[in-house]
Amino acid sequence: MPPRNWTIAEIRSALESRKLSARELATDYFSRIERENPRLNAFLALSPERAFAQADAIDAKIARREPLPPLAGVPTALKDVLSTRGTETTCGSRILKGYVPPYDSTAIERLDRAGAIFLGKTNCDEFAMGSSNENSAYGPVHNPVALDRVPGGSSGGSAAAVAAGLAVVSLGTDTGGSIRQPGALCGVPAMMPTYGRVSRYGLIAFASSLDRIGPFARTVDDVARVMEVIAGRDPLDATSAGLPVPSYTAALSEPVKGLRLGIPREYFAEGLDPEVRKKVEAAIARLRDLGCIPTPIEMPHMPYAIPVYYLIATAEASSNLARFDGVRYGLRVAGSTLGEMYRKTRGAGFGAEVKRRIMLGTYALSAGYYDAYYLKAQKVRSLIKGDFDRAFRQVDLILAPTSPVTAFRLGERTADPLAMYLADIYTVTGSLAGITAISVPCGKANGTLPVGLQIMGPHFEEGRVLRLAHAFEAAGGFSL
């Protein structure tokens, strides 16, 4: 049986040397999934028909001795909020049960053209709203590191699939931490690109001023390879940026000596688990050994980021989710009038957390409260972005924990929504500022549960973030 920790480069060389075919590789991954998914619940739908067609196309290229595309034969999992032509896409919600999109998201179409093999769709919090994957209508994902614990969220299935070796890479989405935090809790590298770096066409929107698409992988090199494929301007997404996409893999080999690394005091204050702190501080020490220069900085508006995020994200969600009304797709619950049909469909189709956020967002936007909540939040968002602008004039990158805690037990935190929101404190700041960040493993708390180091970089500096992450990985940082 092929190894569980394949990298993209190893797959490429195995295919080129004809040690195995893409079809054999895909077959092997589907049998792993069949065997192990029942206890993880990471996949909601599989797409073997499409996967084998993709694999056969790669095998045909190999037979004809044609050059292989960059992700040839790479078994890939896709978060269920990304539209996939011909494969059920539910966003983890009852309201979209049975919905099969007629087109691919741009990011997915790019992976397809790059030769990736689509295993299926991964479980997530309903409409990407959650930090534990417990808000999925199809049951929670179990963390492969400890099955009684959450994988993080919202992209819990994408993180768990890669961590368990059921996929080589996966795509997730990050609105307030939904790529980085499950990456940290499952112990795999996970990148949130800059706002505008990756087209969101075909992503079923949660909060449009915050949503990003990005990769999970087992190595930083693999993250860079996926980023090179999915990044870039797309005429179908007006918010995608026209800046050229540099070679992220080439950036990995550049030196890190002399990089100034900001250590913001506010991210190491009260609320940080002492075991997480210990690992993150050890990571900073390891980077100092590599010649980087840790520099204390201040980001004074960080303590305001949670209310800003939850007001803005829910306001945008209340508008984006208005489209689920029983008319065009998914569930419809009969009503005698159009309005009654809307209300019954949405009341029955959405889960508790989605309804809670729609209510909060609608309240924040409603007459009489708009200025006090939504507008105020947008103003403080300016201040939070200002903290990052100032910091990046002083330092090259910023280091922080990804999550204040390690993977918690399933059911342990569901009773108090506000307490769950507060744990997003280290990730929502970067979301609001539009910057890029990666979470990489930096050892395990008490030797058992993974801890994530967050490396944040300025807008469109993915190459610099990946370069430091790669140097950290090469220096053994992942297993501190």
Binding site: P102, S209, A238, A322, V327, Y363, V380
Partner: protein, 110 residues
């Protein structure tokens, strides 16, 4: 911060959500708790601060100069997928052209 039952019902009406009696109770209490926490923002004087709605608007230098801030002509074109889209609807008429079917529309507040 107090959220009354009437407040919850008004917001649910705006959001087109049918809520059960238990949901009205729970959401009332939870919204009150979350919004009280949000009042922390009032510690900051923002009278001289501009609201930030979109990151990229603040970064015009990231746009192509030849694609005019990414605005395209507002002209309709046939994507050729009408039937493909309509057949996914809970209820549709497959006439030519096809259309979505909805219950009879009566003014809101019936």
């Amino acid at each position: 911060m107090k959220i009354s039952r009437e407040d919850v019902l008004r917001v649910a009406e705006l959001a087109n959500l049918e809520l059960s009696g238990a949901e009205i109770e729970t959401y009332g209490a939870q919204l009150a708790s979350i919004l009280s926490y949000c009042e922390k923002l009032n510690e900051l004087d923002t009278s001289a601060v501009e609201p930030l709605a979109q990151i990229l608007v603040a970064r015009k230098e990231t746009q192509d100069k030849d694609d005019a801030q990414h605005l395209r002509e507002d002209s309709p074109r046939d994507a050729g997928i009408i039937r493909d889209v309509i057949q996914r609807a809970p209820e549709a008429a497959t006439s030519d052209p096809p259309y979505f079917r909805v219950p009879k529309v009566i003014e809101r507040g019936e």
